[in-house]
């Protein structure tokens, strides 16, 4: 612990307390929305207008600006869930549990978007909506893992116990993440190999296409933080509805 500056430790401890988290997120929300709007408009203009058409795929490759960031997010959010689950199991931090259960529907949505856009892209490029190859199947399995987390959480009445159960499940499901990530390298797949982070270390994309893609990826990350905060705030309110700070908040809201 002595390696971490005091201010950081204090920040973490403060963030772990629900009332502080609630007011803090209220304050940063406008900033986050602003950053998101800037990033997403820059990314969309760069991707849909400024970037040149692909020499093979024409304009239809532009779905990459939705497909790839959502696919990245689908993996990223699962890892966030697993880490939050581990933190929740070890240190019993309520907020980690809330982050875990609030992430699941967002992750499921991103996985679903990645699957749908991939299938829309596959039809003109591969001539088929769907193939049962490693990348697509493992992404579908990831969607089921998210749905399993949501289903298990919804099936249990005691939400503290449910969060523990979901945390164990999320940690077990992590084995699927490397399988998805390396599926295009391990198996010969119809899905193309990695183009942004290749083995040579250089992206196999021109920067005019790559920069909007990275902007969109950042925008999706910020969107995830916004959505997560919103969900976490409502989840906190419903979990802590009997505590004093929630009652104070409601009383303040009634006065306004």
């Amino acid at each position: 612990m002595f390696l971490i500056p005091d201010a950081v430790v204090r920040f973490y401890h403060r963030m772990a307390s629900p009332p502080h988290f609630y007011t803090f997120t209220e304050q940063c929300m406008p900033w986050l929305v602003g950053v998101f709007v800037i990033l997403v408009s820059a990314g969309l203009v760069g991707g849909l207008y400024l970037a040149p058409a692909d020499y093979q795929q024409g304009d239809s490759y532009r779905i990459i600006y939705i497909h790839v960031p959502s696919a990245w997010m689908s993996l990223f959010i699962y890892i966030v869930m697993a880490v939050a689950g581990a933190i929740g199991l070890v240190w019993r931090i309520k907020l980690a549990e809330v982050v875990l259960v609030s992430s699941a529907p967002i992750g499921a949505a991103f996985t679903f978007i990645a699957l749908v856009t991939g299938s829309l892209w596959g039809k003109p490029m591969w001539g088929t909506w769907w193939v049962w190859d490693a990348r697509l199947t493992s992404e579908l399995v990831l969607l089921f893992l998210y749905l399993g987390v949501m289903g298990l959480y919804g099936a249990m009445d005691d939400k503290r116990v449910a969060s523990k159960a979901v945390a164990i499940l999320a940690l077990v499901g992590v084995v699927n993440i490397p399988i998805i990530h390396y599926s295009v390298e391990w198996w010969s797949s119809l899905h193309q190999g990695p183009t942004v982070i290749t083995k040579t270390g250089k992206p196999a994309m021109h920067s005019s296409m790559l920069i909007p893609l990275l902007l969109m990826a950042l925008a999706f990350k910020v969107y995830y933080v916004i959505a997560l905060m919103q969900r976490a705030r409502t989840e906190l309110l419903s979990r802590e509805r009997n505590s004093q700070w929630v009652k104070n908040k409601i009383a303040m809201g009634a006065k306004l």
């Binding site: 289903g151 099936a155 523990k164 159960a165 499901g173």
Partner: protein, 224 residues
């Protein structure tokens, strides 16, 4: 009590309990045979088609039979309170859980190995693929029991956990299904299958070492 004695005590107890209720042993086998019978009836009895899909049919049926038998793994102990005693005992819960899974596999998984070759012959699988089918079942069904135990432990406290159990467990079964049925398929066409078998062995070793921990944690959570 030493660890190995505790382990074998639980295995012995569960086997004795299972032998007193023989219908529970027979049910997964009948289910397995019935599901396999449904495929020729549904798809049509063309030998070429059946031969092509035989590895997949046998493996999917084995997977479903294992999953449906999972409920009996902790159910009676949960209902009569012996599960609490197991958790409270001085031996590590993960070890005792592993003992319960072992006994459960001996009762429900092992019998599948005995009927599977017969059904494979009925489906027209070439005889040189039978040893590979048996090896994949021998390696694969314990993995299914070990992974399934995590799911059962998570859902044991729920009144209607059956559907949610399949939603939790089936996605995690996918890798086993892929490698096992692929191995049998390749063996049917006479090619070497060492790579798939090695992957199955490594999955079994990993499941043996890693699965009892979350199962024990989930049981403790379900009992709280």
């Amino acid at each position: 009590m030493s660890l190995s004695r505790a382990f074998f005590a639980i295995v012995r107890r569960d086997l004795v309990l299972a032998l007193r209720r023989r219908s529970e042993i027979a049910n997964p086998i009948f289910f397995f045979i019935l599901v396999i019978t449904l495929f020729p009836l549904g798809i049509g009895a063309k030998p070429t088609i059946l031969q092509a899909i035989a590895p997949g049919i046998i493996w999917v049926s084995a997977l479903l039979a294992t999953m449906l038998s999972l409920d009996s793994l902790f159910r009676s102990d949960f209902d009569d309170g012996s599960l609490e005693q197991i958790i409270l005992s001085p031996q590590p819960t993960s070890l005792l859980v592993l003992a319960k899974i072992t006994a459960h596999w001996l009762v429900t998984g092992l019998p599948l190995l005995i009927v599977a070759p017969l059904l494979a012959v009925f489906l027209g699988m070439p005889s040189h693929a039978l040893p590979v089918l048996l090896i994949t079942l021998l390696l694969g069904t314990p993995i299914l029991s070990l992974i399934g135990a995590i799911g059962v432990a998570l859902t044991i406290g729920l009144r209607r956990g059956g559907m949610i159990l399949s939603l939790l467990v089936l996605p995690l079964y996918v890798p086993v299904l892929i490698f096992a049925s692929n191995a049998v398929e390749i063996a049917s066409s006479g090619l070497p299958v060492t790579a798939q078998i090695n992957i199955l062995i490594s999955m079994l070793v990993m499941a043996l070492v890693l699965a009892p921990w979350p199962t024990a944690a989930a049981l403790k959570m379900s009992m709280s």
